[in-house]
């Protein structure tokens, strides 16, 4: 365990940024957002960023491949390059857990997605234990410990001090590079802080959301539940929940013509959109009821069925804050039979 004065944080960022690009949460017009470290940029004290951290590994738009077309001839241009090393500072426990969920899709289930892997391998994640959880936070429901996230390095901000613990070789290297700013310390203050954070998390209003009933039930029983009809009607079918969600990973593949040829790219897509499953021959999810149901069934039922019971939700609460009509996974889970309802 190492320690540094919080006042020296800027020096730490500068030292880290000398070797690779550093991103950190910064206050902006849309709340906190991850921005590149430059002189003058200061760390946001917000509980979390408005957008999730998934962009670092699964950006909203990503070029896949280029083509040149000349008469009947086509040339395929694989423009993939190694990305440069980068550091993300200030990732919260929920967002770190979301990386593990994305990993399940893009790395652990073959075939490996080389675009995702490329970014993942070059990113160093510095997590930050939560100091001020919000009413919308419910990471504990998914067994996530806001007080002690993993990642390559874990940080705790305690008053005027910031504590560092390297967890991986990548993390050791980064800490070593900033060695002159850090001093070795005892873990006791951090242990006390963890206890305090956990006590705070235990007081959060949604911490007791129970998903057992949903999990125990047959998939089709959840699917055919009457609650979908009652819940979907307010949904306006936008993609806000999907786009702010750290675990939503569906994408579309599109093309656009450039002066040089054709770029094929992928971009985030949303199962809430009316054209998500639309094809020439028809659409298998015709109404918003079906599309609304798909999103929550996927997170609470389908994904766990394929992933050792792991839900595709980390309780970050972003959808609770962003949904235009305040419909969200907590309301759905409660209606569908999550406990602690009344």
């Amino acid at each position: 365990m190492k320690k540094m004065q919080a006042a020296n944080l800027n020096d730490f960022f500068r030292a880290a940024a000398a070797a690779e690009t550093v991103y950190l949460p910064v206050d902006s017009a849309d709340g906190a957002r991850f921005m590149k470290y430059e002189d003058g940029v200061t760390l946001s004290m917000a509980c979390n960023t408005t957008r999730s951290a998934k962009d670092f590994f699964f950006p909203q738009v990503e070029n896949l491949v280029d083509f040149k077309v000349d008469g009947k001839k086509i040339e395929v241009i694989d423009g993939r390059e190694e990305v440069e090393d980068f550091v993300i500072f200030g990732v919260r426990a929920c967002d770190l857990a979301s990386f593990e969920i994305l990993d399940r899709v893009y790395l652990n289930t073959p075939p490996v997605d080389s675009y995702y892997k490329n970014r993942r391998e070059h990113g160093t994640v510095i997590t930050l234990a939560c100091g001020r959880p919000q009413e919308t936070c419910f990471c504990k429901v998914f067994g996530i410990d806001a007080a002690d996230p993993a990642g390559d390095v874990t940080c705790w901000m305690l008053g005027d001090d910031i504590y560092f613990r390297a967890n991986t070789e990548k993390g050791e290297k980064l800490i070593a590079a900033c060695g002159s700013l850090l001093t070795d310390v005892d873990e006791a203050p951090v242990e006390n802080a963890k206890t305090a954070i956990r006590a705070m998390v235990d007081k959060l209003p949604i911490k007791d959301l129970k998903l057992d009933k949903i999990s125990e039930r047959h998939l089709l029983e959840n699917f055919n539940s009457s609650v979908w009809k009652d819940l979907y009607e307010s949904c306006i079918g936008c993609g806000t929940c999907t786009f702010v969600c750290p675990t939503c990973q569906c994408f579309d593949v599109r093309e656009f013509k450039t002066n040089e040829g054709v770029k094929r790219f992928r971009c985030w897509d949303s199962c809430m959109y009316s054209d998500f499953t639309k094809m020439a021959a028809g659409n298998n999810r015709l109404s918003q009821l079906e599309r609304f149901r798909q999103r929550f069934m996927h997170k609470l039922v389908y994904f766990p069925a394929n992933n050792d019971g792991v839900y595709s939700c980390v309780g970050c609460g972003r959808c609770l804050k962003s949904c235009p009509i305040s419909m969200n996974i907590v309301k759905v889970a409660k209606a569908l039979g999550g406990e602690a309802n009344e």
């Binding site: 994408f251 094929r264 021959a281 079906e290 389908y302």
Partner: protein, 277 residues
């Protein structure tokens, strides 16, 4: 980076023959640029074909793996990509990636079974791959019945191959039907589900159905009436897909991804899935 194989980056193929099957179905022969096939596949698997700038779409591979020279795709004109495919000429390069999906269990569950193929319209496309695979490995399968119907005689895909080759194959019984009376047609007239019931097959057969959803629904009901069990009946699904490898999330039905867990499903498996297909 470039040494990492990436499924989203397609290979190139060249269209070496185009056959007009029906007013809205053409069959495209695709070779690798240096001849031969772009990749091997199992009957029932699919591939993404695309023309950069037009779009990419998934098609079942119509030819049998026993065909060592080329791959074929029978494609009905019904959207952006298919419009373009129908307008192109021989010698055109296209991009191709695959194969995707599980394919039919031709080397396991189907082995030494009597097979009953039931197809409607363009639904013959994925089954043709299996049928010709069976022909190429005739001693490994029992008797074969094929019930195939379409709107009219002109809408029967692969008509030449059916009447010149399939009907002459040993232990092959081909039953053709069209929806309405037509001049020059002396065969059966009527819808496929009814024809299957009229024909009344032995219930020890393994059935493979493909066609419009409504046809599949009524045919399956007819087969159950005849005494077939759902676990004897296989079908293949079509859903919108973008990646083909269970990541883009589009073809998700329940906990299954049609692109990798399907497109071939046994009908008893479908009962365990949400009815969203």
């Amino acid at each position: 980076m470039s040494e990492v194989n990436e499924t989203l980056i397609p290979q190139l193929g060249i269209v070496t023959d185009i056959r007009t099957d029906t007013p809205d179905v053409k069959t495209f022969r695709v070779n690798a640029l240096d001849g031969g096939k772009v990749f091997e596949h199992i009957p029932g698997q699919c591939a993404f074909l695309s023309m950069p700038g037009v779009g990419e779409a998934l098609f079942s591979i119509t030819s049998s793996p026993t065909n060592k020279e080329f791959m074929e795709f029978s494609i009905k004109r019904c959207g952006c990509v298919t419009d373009w495919l129908h307008s192109m000429e021989v010698g055109q390069m296209i991009t191709i990636r695959g194969p995707y999906g599980n394919g039919f269990p031709v080397d396991t569950d189907f082995r030494h079974k009597d097979l009953l193929f039931i197809a409607g319209g363009i639904g013959l496309a994925p089954l043709r791959s299996v049928i010709n695979y069976v022909r190429g490995n005739r001693d490994k399968y029992g008797k074969v019945d094929i019930v195939y119907g379409s709107r009219s005689k002109d809408d029967l895909v692969d008509y030449d191959e059916i009447i010149n080759e399939w009907v002459n194959e040993k232990d092959f019984n081909v039953h053709l039907t069209i929806d309405r009376e037509q001049e020059g047609w002396d065969g059966h007239v009527g819808f496929v589900p009814n024809y299957v019931k009229e024909l009344g097959f032995d219930t020890d057969k393994t059935c493979i159905i493909c066609g419009p959803p409504i046809m599949i629904k009524f045919t399956l009901a007819g087969l159950i009436e005849l005494g077939f069990k759902k676990d004897q009946v296989y079908t293949t699904m079509e859903l919108r897909m973008k990646c083909g490898v269970g990541k883009c999330g589009r073809c998700n039905i329940g906990d299954k991804y049609v692109c990798k867990d399907g497109p071939v499903f046994r009908c008893d498996q479908l009962d365990e899935m949400p009815s969203e297909y």
